[in-house]
């Protein structure tokens, strides 16, 4: 029956047609990500994006000689924002700044490019996994799902990480099917790089690897296979070196704090929130159909890989329950996982479709339908991108920075932990707790004595800057403390600066 389907039912394989479709998809996927390119990156996880922006600027200014000394020093100092992951993207961007000058949108181009290249790997993977038709659908989902469009153009390591995960899975599948050294080494490199870029990728790539080893290759056989050991070493090596170095030098201190909240596992709301964010990332229908696809996949060839990916993703959620339900970008790897998992289902639907509709017209209808779907998704993404213009942020923060002469000692209740002030206002600040910070500390069993904490945090500070008025209202103790004991140094509709050095009375 398979031969019959291949010969008679499925569209005759015309490599140039698939190639053309792939190129068009990738180009369109890249183009939609270039929309509103120069808008500041505050549309998605702004704190994380500004973190990278500050870091990249700090790296760049080490090479800049034609700026005032204070500015160079400030850039380098403000760029020292700590370490979460190796600054791979930041390094690439800062080196590009040396050629083009500092432009925040350069990171957007790199991230988009990485994501779109991941689309290439996904297409090749699904084509081998299921069929060319399924590869088209899977790649279109990966490239045009609105959440993915927005999240994949951010100045964060995640788009690169996801792209490397996709490359890892593709090379792993190739290795599974060919047992060639080339694919073993490529998997080791890609997966090692993915984990190096952002270590949470380990859950997904290790999950896929374990799935293939246990379900497809066999554990005994694998343990005797030198290719297996080379893959393991390459997978572990980069992140092991980075982590050991980080521990020895103390660069990674504090990264494991406030991350693990097993108590949340017992709360049903955790699972509903998780589900909501999955639906937000791919759409409810897509991920549910993806799970169905796992059960339709070939038992030995396809299913182990898919199960490994899903188990890895689920393990990631259980390990970081708080982040999984508060940071939607933790679900980015779900997009390629769901797109790949859909492939067996799409393959079956297409087989049936071509069986029942052998003529050209129904195929044209199908093509129009798919194009219509892509157009709608792109329109959604475009509408979301166009919904906000953040260009006024830069002058606003620059004005505050000027007012405080870029050297004042400031604590603030300001957006993104003071990163906006740091980036556009060229002024560092320490940040007072937001409601979310307080919640996460309560969740971790910590209690905050506000008056005491306020005294400690404001000691030696000159100003308390408030730009988040909602937060200010939510913290009446602090609001009352500031208004009753400190004079206002400057105030507009958009900010209040309290003078902490000339208190009206002792707090």
């Amino acid at each position: 029956m398979k031969k019959y389907l291949m010969r008679k039912i499925i569209i005759p394989e015309r490599p140039w047609m698939w190639m053309m479709a792939l190129v068009l998809m990738l180009l369109a996927g890249f183009a939609i990500r270039m929309y509103d390119l120069t808008n500041p990156p505050l549309d998605f996880a702004p704190t994380r994006q500004l973190f990278s922006a500050l870091k990249a600027r700090g790296m760049y200014y080490q090479y800049v000689t034609d700026v005032p000394a204070w500015q160079r020093d400030a850039a380098i100092s403000l760029g020292d924002v700590g370490n979460i992951e190796p600054p791979v993207l930041e390094t690439i961007v800062s080196q590009t700044y040396r050629l083009t000058g500092e432009h925040l949108w350069i990171a957007r181009i790199y991230s988009s490019l990485f994501w779109v290249l991941g689309g290439l790997a996904l297409f090749l993977l699904i084509r081998e996994f299921a069929s060319s038709g399924a590869a088209i659908i899977g790649t279109l989902i990966y490239l045009f799902v609105p959440y993915g469009v927005i999240a994949s153009r951010t100045f964060m390591p995640d788009p690169l990480m996801v792209a490397l995960i996709v490359f890892s899975v593709w090379t792993l599948f190739r290795w599974q099917n060919t047992s060639k050294w080339k694919w073993a080494i490529l998997f080791g490199i890609c997966s090692g790089l993915a984990i190096f870029v952002k270590n949470v990728a380990a859950f997904i790539v290790v999950g896929a690897f374990v799935g293939v080893i246990l379900g497809s290759r066999g554990l005994k056989r694998s343990l005797r296979d030198p290719q297996f050991w080379v893959m393991v070493v390459l997978l572990v090596l980069p992140v092991a070196v980075y982590t050991i170095n980080g521990i020895v030098t103390g660069l990674l201190a504090g990264q494991l704090a406030l991350r693990f909240f097993p108590r949340m596992w017992l709360d049903p709301a955790f699972y509903f929130s998780w589900q909501n964010l999955m639906s937000n990332a791919t759409g409810f229908g897509v991920w549910v159909a993806g799970i169905v696809g796992v059960f339709l996949a070939d038992k030995r060839r396809e299913r182990p890989l898919l199960l490994g990916l899903w188990i890895g993703y689920i393990a990631l959620g259980f390990t970081f329950p708080y982040h999984f339900t508060t940071h939607d970008y933790y679900h980015l790897p779900l997009i390629p996982i769901a797109a790949l998992s859909l492939a067996p289902l799409v393959k079956i639907v297409f087989e049936r479709f071509f069986d029942r509709n052998p003529g050209l017209f129904p195929r044209l209808v199908l093509v129009v339908l798919v194009l219509f779907g892509v157009a709608v998704q792109s329109w959604y993404a475009r509408a979301r991108l166009a919904s906000a213009d953040y260009r006024s942020e830069a002058p606003f923060w620059a004005a505050i920075g000027d007012k405080l002469e870029h050297n004042a000692s400031v604590i603030g209740l300001t957006q993104d932990y003071g990163y906006r002030l740091a980036y556009w206002g060229w002024l560092g600040s320490s940040s007072w707790y937001t409601s979310a910070d307080i919640s996460v500390r309560y969740l971790a069993g910590q209690n905050i004595d506000f008056a005491k904490q306020f005294a400690e945090d404001t000691a030696g500070k000159q100003y308390f800057l408030v730009t988040m008025f909602g937060e200010f209202e939510n913290q009446p103790v602090i609001k009352d403390l500031l208004y009753s004991h400190y004079p206002i140094y400057a105030q507009t509709d958009e900010y209040i600066i309290f003078d902490l050095q000339h208190s009206l009375s002792q707090p």
Partner: protein
């Protein structure tokens, strides 16, 4: 050829559940869940979904009830009946009559309409499943059924006291009956199709669009002009379908004469030239039925085995599109105008779901079936949770006392002009006070869109307030949006009462 033979054989062989009671149990769980989620927050006021339309039905039902309630105080009966009569005739008050009748047994309860609407929707789920059975895809139909019953927008909309739930139910049953007639071609099935289709259109006339499209699609699927024209059953179905609505329109237009106003401010051809109209249409429709489901459903059309269901579904889609062109303004401002799309999409999902279920049924062992059932119930649970969260977000019960007090403050015998955000419905229903409405900015906008010119403020004011005792404002946003009215009232008439969100001016100081 052998490959083809195998493929076709596979279409009828596997069964998802070897024991029929398992399938019955799964369906029963779906229906019980669907009813349960619709009964969440049952006694809350119907402010969560197009409250103007729901309070209109409540006023009609109460008026009908009080008209035949001998124990009701005379004043209340007079007011209730008057408020009923003030509601223009839009469609036959089928739901309202049913609810009024129920009031006679259990007393006036605001949630009765909600229960009936929910039950109608549930029963239409049965029609979708039976249609899947007619298509020999009944096991796949269970997914379409789950989609239809648990789509979050559907959950919210289907418990509203409006004719739309009943209309959607009758659309689903009509589609089932029309398809059944096409496959059986008996006089009994033809009459059933005609009766159900006629009832659907009678309950709400806009049902004509998808149903006419479906019927036309089925007739066209015969691909013989001669058969189409000479078929007596086709003419009989057309006649039976048209009869109730024709009678109702003759009654409404020529006997009562109030139906004419319903044709005003409905057709806005200028919108059809605006590209954003189509974008908004698409966004609203996809937002309601979910984009993935819409896409799969459209693809599903090409997965049916025969032409009849394909043409039926293409016809309903065509009818839905024509419906949008006929009522462009309502299509992008009234989400519930898209309700007929839910059964249409659900039916399109049947062949896709059937394909999936067949693949699962081919697997050996019980694990697959258990996983399928588990996944289905998990998806249903997630959607129920989403719907539940929407339903319990707000509690409107406290409003009753507010409107009752306002009604007392105004006085039941006063003649008033009202600037209201809900066409005065809550004041009428809970406060027992009705008045002439002062146009809101939205009213003015829609009239402007229709090309109507507005009279000057002074003449409108003089016209509306003539013979009235009080001017009552119950909408702070509109009060802000109409500075001319605000200044004029404040300057010329004494403010005799003011409270949280209302202002009362004495027009006869």
């Amino acid at each position: 050829m052998s490959g083809k033979k195998n493929f076709m054989e596979n279409e009828v062989s596997p069964k998802l559940f070897s024991k029929p009671w398992l399938m019955a149990a799964l369906v029963a769980v779906l229906f019980i869940g669907a009813l349960g989620i619709r009964l969440v927050d049952l006694t809350d006021l119907p402010n969560d979904f197009y409250m103007v339309r729901q309070y209109r039905s409540l006023l009609i039902a109460r008026g009908m009830y009080y008209a035949h309630l001998p124990t009701a105080p005379e004043l209340k009966r007079e007011i209730a009946v008057a408020q009923w009569q003030e509601q223009g005739l839009i469609e036959p008050p089928v739901m309202e009559s049913l609810v009024a009748l129920t009031y006679h047994f259990i007393g006036e309860q605001i949630w009765v309409g909600r229960v009936y609407a929910s039950l109608f929707w549930l029963v239409s789920g049965l029609a979708i499943w039976l249609l899947a059975k007619e298509l020999s895809m009944w096991e796949g139909g269970i997914i379409a059924l789950a989609y239809f019953l648990f789509l979050p927008f559907g959950v919210t909309a289907s418990r509203a006291f409006m004719p739309d739930s009943l209309m959607t139910a009758l659309i689903a049953w009509s589609l089932w009956a029309l398809y059944r007639w096409e496959t059986r071609r008996t006089w009994k099935s033809a009459i059933l199709a005609g009766v159900l289709t006629g009832l659907a259109i009678l309950v709400k006339s806009v049902a004509v669009f998808p149903l006419l499209g479906a019927a036309a699609g089925l007739v066209l699927s015969r691909r013989s002009l001669k058969r189409m024209i000479t078929d007596k059953q086709t003419w009989a179905v057309a006649g039976i379908t048209a009869l109730p609505t024709v009678i109702f329109y003759i009654y409404g237009l020529f006997i009562v004469g109030t139906l004419e106003s319903q044709f005003a401010l409905r057709f806005f051809p200028a919108l059809l030239k605006d590209p954003t109209f189509y974008g908004r249409w698409l966004f609203i429709a996809a937002g309601i039925v979910s984009f993935a489901a819409m896409f799969l459903s459209l693809a599903g059309i090409l997965l049916f085995r025969t032409n009849a269901p394909r043409f039926l579904l293409v016809g309903t889609w065509f009818g839905y599109v024509v419906f949008g062109f006929a009522f462009p303004y309502h299509f992008i401002t009234h989400e519930y105008y898209h309700l007929p799309l839910i059964p249409i999409v659900a039916i399109g999902l049947i062949p896709v779901a059937d394909l999936l279920v067949r693949q699962i049924a081919r697997q050996k062992g019980w694990l697959w079936r258990a996983v399928f059932a588990g996944l289905l119930l998990f998806a249903v649970a997630m959607k129920m949770w989403e719907a539940r969260n929407t339903l319990v977000t707000s509690d409107y019960r406290h409003e009753i006392a507010y409107w009752q007090e306002l009604g007392q403050t105004i006085g039941y015998d006063k003649k008033i002009v009202e600037l209201s955000g809900d066409y005065g419905d809550r004041l009428a229903y809970f406060g027992w006070v009705s008045g002439l409405l002062w146009p809101t900015t939205a009213d003015v906008a829609v009239r402007t869109l229709a090309g109507q010119t507005q009279s000057d403020f002074a003449s409108i004011f003089a016209d509306r307030t003539s013979g009235k005792d009080l001017f009552v404002v119950t909408t702070p946003p509109e009060w802000e949006n109409q500075p001319e009215l605000r200044e004029y009232l404040t300057a010329n008439y004494p403010l005799i009462a003011q409270g949280d969100g209302y202002w009362i001016f004495n027009l006869k100081p």
